[in-house]
């Protein structure tokens, strides 16, 4: 277990994708992070990053969804068929079997940095 953690820490790299001002509050943009499409989303005071791929419509569009909350859970709704995803975990709130990848995000001196490797746990479903 330890060995795995050390290995992933050693490989971890971050990408500076844009400035905080490039993302209007309560909206998302899409960034290319190590070749992957990642939705960078501002909700309230936090910046989140999840995979841009919508497993329901099979299109790379999640960053273009409407940002909001369901019962206090920060979420984004796919612009195609409107399924909502928890921005913290990538969990689809309308289908327990579906989850999209999430990425660590840091905001430093007004810049948004995204970790190139998705968080462990991974995606599934649809």
């Amino acid at each position: 277990m330890n060995a795995v953690a050390i290995q992933s820490a050693a490989q971890e790299s971050w990408e500076d994708v844009c400035s905080l001002d490039d993302v209007l509050p309560a909206t998302g943009v899409c960034a290319l992070v190590a070749g992957q499409q990642v939705a960078i989303v501002r909700a309230s005071d936090t910046v989140y990053a999840i995979g841009n791929f919508d497993p329901f419509s099979k299109a790379f569009v999640l960053s273009r969804g409407i940002v909001g909350d369901r019962g206090g859970i920060p979420k984004i709704a796919s612009p195609i068929y409107k399924q909502s995803f928890d921005l913290r975990t990538g969990q689809c709130l309308d289908d327990a079997r579906v989850r999209v990848p999430t990425y660590e995000v840091r905001v430093e001196r007004g810049r948004i940095l995204v970790c190139c490797q998705p968080r462990a746990g991974g995606s599934s479903g649809a």
């Binding site: 209007l24 960034a31 419509s57 790379f60 979420k75 309308d94």
Partner: protein, 846 residues
């Protein structure tokens, strides 16, 4: 009491179902559970195995939630196979040398593909289609093959053929029987199915007996038929049926059926009461069952037997519905009309490739079964009529004939089903259970119903019925509960509209801070954006409004399948000059856009990438075009016939009137889209009576029709006032539109708004003509403001660098979206289907 040992041999779909149900049982604690799993991974969804080729991974198909078995203390012998059973010592031995003791043993060994004893069947390039490993081998071999032959034209064979076809192989299906899917469909259905499949480029050879597989250097090159014919083949996939894996049972002396399969009684017990068998390896009442529904029923019964219950196997539902190569195929009940005295009603449309057959009782009162090919949309309901023996209303042929004007389709709604009706036969879920879950757990989506009741998680064919039940239950509940917009606003749209006007609120943040809670969602944000636009008519992308808009409004274009956009410039009244047509064509050509004439007398240009939209509009605006608002809940178009100017029957100039109305109301944001038309005479060529507002010319002026609708639920508009002059017509329209904008619910078209207006057309006349509410002056003033403040949204956008900067696919790259793959079709382009582009994008999906 010490625990007893329960051993399950086989972790396929049915073995997994057995464990899942056992783990939920309160007497589960009495057992130590061990399961064998021969494959390198736990149970996966074999029904949807072929989706592996369209991009799903083994993890996607997995049925066992990670950790389920470990947490429940089930020991899994992964990648190990049971090789013998010692009934005296009550022990199972494994290939890797394990010895596992049992008190109760459950055999769920499934079945194996049947490979007919054809000489050459062992050659390189011969495959079967059963496991993920099989599919992986097929995929890697297909990379160097040109021609593939599938032996067997049943369900799995056609799935295999589809997969080969998608991998770009020249594909043949060879079937011994005289038709495809002989088990499920009859001769006529088979013929229609064959026609549909051949159109897709797969060659079908029926009535062919394969006699030899020829190989060179060990690799397949050709297959030969008993009649002397032959087919070149680089690879062969056998899909000629399955046989029960009953070897373990045979060797330890359990009773075996005549045609194979471990014989079981109605409690799933074999001839040794301590050994049970379930799924495809079991033989019950003289046959084995290759469908997941009967397998799951056996799993349930076996759990009951093991835990001291007394559940017995009932009759199995052998109905199936599937989509093969995009073709619907379904059969249910007594599909082959074997019941004495039964009658057959059939409908064949060889032009569209549709075949529907119903088997009805002698008195035509009950539905016994049927076959559907090409269109199985009514499967769920026909199955319910069959299973619940619901008396048919009207003539049975009405259930399958295409609906035409005048025909009165019999009511088939879910309301007609009894509470005890089984909606999901795979998971055995009754209608009453689903209704109760929707009500008690306040479920609001089909996904939530699936999660809560498991209905729809087997073969999935009952999903449309779940949607219908949900709709009915919500409607029933809707009358009793609130009209609150959503969890963020405890108010109706109408109340919010008044608050916005009254308190002169111009932003979402202000409205939610004063009158709502939380941060909003995809329901309230666009609704509020629409209210703000109807009231203040400021640019939809100004201020904090960007984040309120659905993607169509946010990018002022219509999102399409795959994530590209379409562009519709305004063509008022459908009148267009040759120069404008040329300009549209030039832009479409410049950007490679697919062009289509819409039903609203406009041109729709498809396939634009997000970052191309401003450039496309720069060209269109230079050519004199304006935004057509096809993306907005707003006035779309005012269609017209050519009118008295050209038409010898016309009595008024309908084109000029349509242009005038379209230019007056363009840009008006409303609760839902608005469509209109003007006809130049009573012949009604512009179809004005199917519009939200329609005008029909008369000798004396114009008749005004309101609240019609085309689309999903057509409804004729009502004659509101006859023979109006132009000025009065426009005054009434101003009042009508603003009254609708004020009072309708979100996403409520005028027709459904009208249907909910107490007093109907008379009431509307009182309010809008007699001014019974005293609001007409206000309504006119509000409309005057909208008309005076109109600006083309696209023109304003391309003049504003801040707005323009948001039209890019990637915030950190100018690269185009690699997932937007196009394919040439009929001299234009269409988006690639997911199946076509998935192999290119597998990495990106992660």
């Amino acid at each position: 009491m010490s625990r007893r040992d329960l051993v399950v041999v086989g972790n396929g779909m049915v073995g997994h179902k057995f464990l899942e149900l056992l783990l939920e049982d309160e007497r589960r604690e009495e057992w130590n559970v061990v399961t064998f799993c021969e494959e390198p991974r736990l149970a996966y969804d074999r029904v949807n195995l072929s989706s592996f080729f369209s991009g799903k991974t083994a993890a996607d198909l997995s049925l066992a939630e990670p950790g389920l078995y470990e947490e429940a203390g089930v020991t899994v012998l992964l990648g190990d196979r049971a090789v013998s059973i010692d009934r005296q010592a009550r022990r199972v031995a494994s290939a890797k040398g394990a010895r596992v003791r049992y008190d109760k043993l459950v055999l769920a060994t499934g079945s194996a593909p049947l490979v007919p004893p054809i000489p050459g069947r062992e050659s390189q390039g011969c495959f079967v289609y059963r496991t993920i490993e099989d599919l992986e081998s097929i995929r890697s071999y297909a990379a160097q093959a040109r021609t593939g032959v599938v032996i067997g034209g049943g369900l799995l064979g056609l799935e295999a053929a589809n997969a080969l076809n998608h991998m770009g192989l020249e594909t043949h299906v060879v079937e011994f029987a005289p038709r495809l899917m002989a088990m499920q469909v009859d001769e006529d259905g088979g013929r229609i199915l064959r026609g549909k499949i051949e159109v897709l480029g797969v060659s079908v050879h029926t009535g062919k007996n394969t006699s030899e597989i020829v190989a060179e250097g060990g690799r397949v090159t050709e297959i030969r038929f008993a009649d002397g014919g032959a087919l070149a083949a680089d690879m062969v996939v056998f899909s000629a049926g399955i046989r029960a894996r009953d070897e373990l049972a045979r060797e330890c002396g359990l009773a075996i059926g005549e045609r194979g399969g471990v014989t079981i009684d109605d409690r799933c017990r074999t001839s040794d009461p301590d050994i049970l068998a379930i799924g495809e390896c079991a033989q019950y009442r003289g046959r084995t069952y290759g469908l997941v529904g009967p397998g799951y029923q056996m799993a349930r019964t076996a759990v009951s037997t093991v835990t001291g219950g007394d559940a017995k196997l009932g009759t199995f539902d052998m109905s199936t519905k599937l989509k093969l190569m995009g073709v619907d195929v379904a059969s249910f009940g007594d599909a082959h009309a074997t019941r004495p005295g039964c009658r057959v009603v059939a409908f064949t449309d060889s032009a569209d490739g549709i075949y529907k057959k119903l088997v009805v009782s002698a008195d035509r009162q009950r539905l016994l079964g049927g076959v559907l090919v090409g269109d199985a949309s009514s499967y769920g309901q026909l199955l319910q009529l069959t299973q619940n023996q619901i008396p048919l209303r009207g003539r049975p042929e009405q259930l399958i004939l295409p609906q035409s004007a005048g025909a009165n389709p019999p009511a088939l709604g879910v309301d007609a089903l009894p509470e005890a009706a089984t909606i999901c036969t795979c998971q055995n879920v009754a209608k009453s259970v689903i209704c109760r879950a929707i009500c008690d757990e306040k479920l609001s989506s089909v996904g939530a119903i699936k999660a809560a009741t498991r209905a729809g998680t087997g073969c999935g064919s009952c999903t449309p019925l779940l949607g219908e039940i949900l709709g009915r239950e919500m409607k029933k509940a809707g009358k009793a509960v609130s009209n609150h917009l959503c969890e963020h606003f405890p108010r109706s749209r109408q109340e919010l509209y008044h608050l916005v006007r009254l308190h002169r609120i111009r932003g979402f943040d202000e409205l939610i801070a004063k009158h709502g809670r939380g941060s909003g969602c995809e329901i309230c944000k666009p609704a509020v954006a629409s209210i703000l636009a109807s009231t203040w008519n400021e640019h939809v992308l100004d201020g904090d409004r960007v984040g309120l808009q659905d993607t169509n409004d946010r990018f002022l274009a219509n999102i399409q399948r795959g994530g590209s956009y379409s562009v519709v410039p305004r063509v008022p009244g459908g009148e267009i000059t040759p120069d404008q047509l040329i300009a549209l064509g030039r832009t479409a050509k410049h950007f490679g856009l697919y062009s289509k004439i819409t039903g609203a007398q406009r041109v729709d240009l498809f396939g634009a990438r997000l970052e191309q939209l401003p450039e496309i509009w720069r060209e269109l605006i230079a050519a004199g075009f304006e935004s057509g608002h096809a993306y907005g809940k707003a006035l779309r178009t005012v269609k017209s016939c050519v009118g008295s100017t050209w038409c010898r029957f016309g009595v008024q100039d309908s084109v000029s009137m349509a242009i005038k109305l379209e230019n007056r109301y363009k840009g008006l944001r409303s609760p839902h889209k608005l469509k209109s038309a003007v006809s130049g005479c009573a012949r009604e060529c512009a179809e004005a009576q199917g519009k939200d507002f329609g005008v029909i010319a008369t000798e004396k002026g114009y008749n005004l029709y309101l609240c019609g609708n085309g689309g999903m639920k057509p409804q004729h508009a009502q004659l509101f006032a006859p023979d109006l002059d132009e000025e009065t017509l426009i005054r009434y329209l101003d009042r009508f539109l603003m009254f609708y904008v004020r009072t309708a619910d979100r996403l409520q078209r005028t027709a459904s708004w009208f249907n909910n207006l107490e007093g109907g057309i008379e009431y509307l006349r009182k309010v809008l003509i007699e001014d019974s509410l005293g609001v007409c002056a206000e309504l006119e003033a509000e409309m005057a403001h909208i008309v005076a403040t109109y600006r083309c949204e696209w023109k304003a956008t391309i003049e504003d660098p801040a707005k323009l900067s948001r039209f890019r696919t990637f915030v950190n790259s100018a690269a185009p979206d690699p997932s937007l793959v196009q394919i040439r079709q009929r001299a234009q382009h269409r988006p690639a289907t997911w199946q076509e582009k998935a192999p290119l994008l597998r990495e990106a999906v992660g």
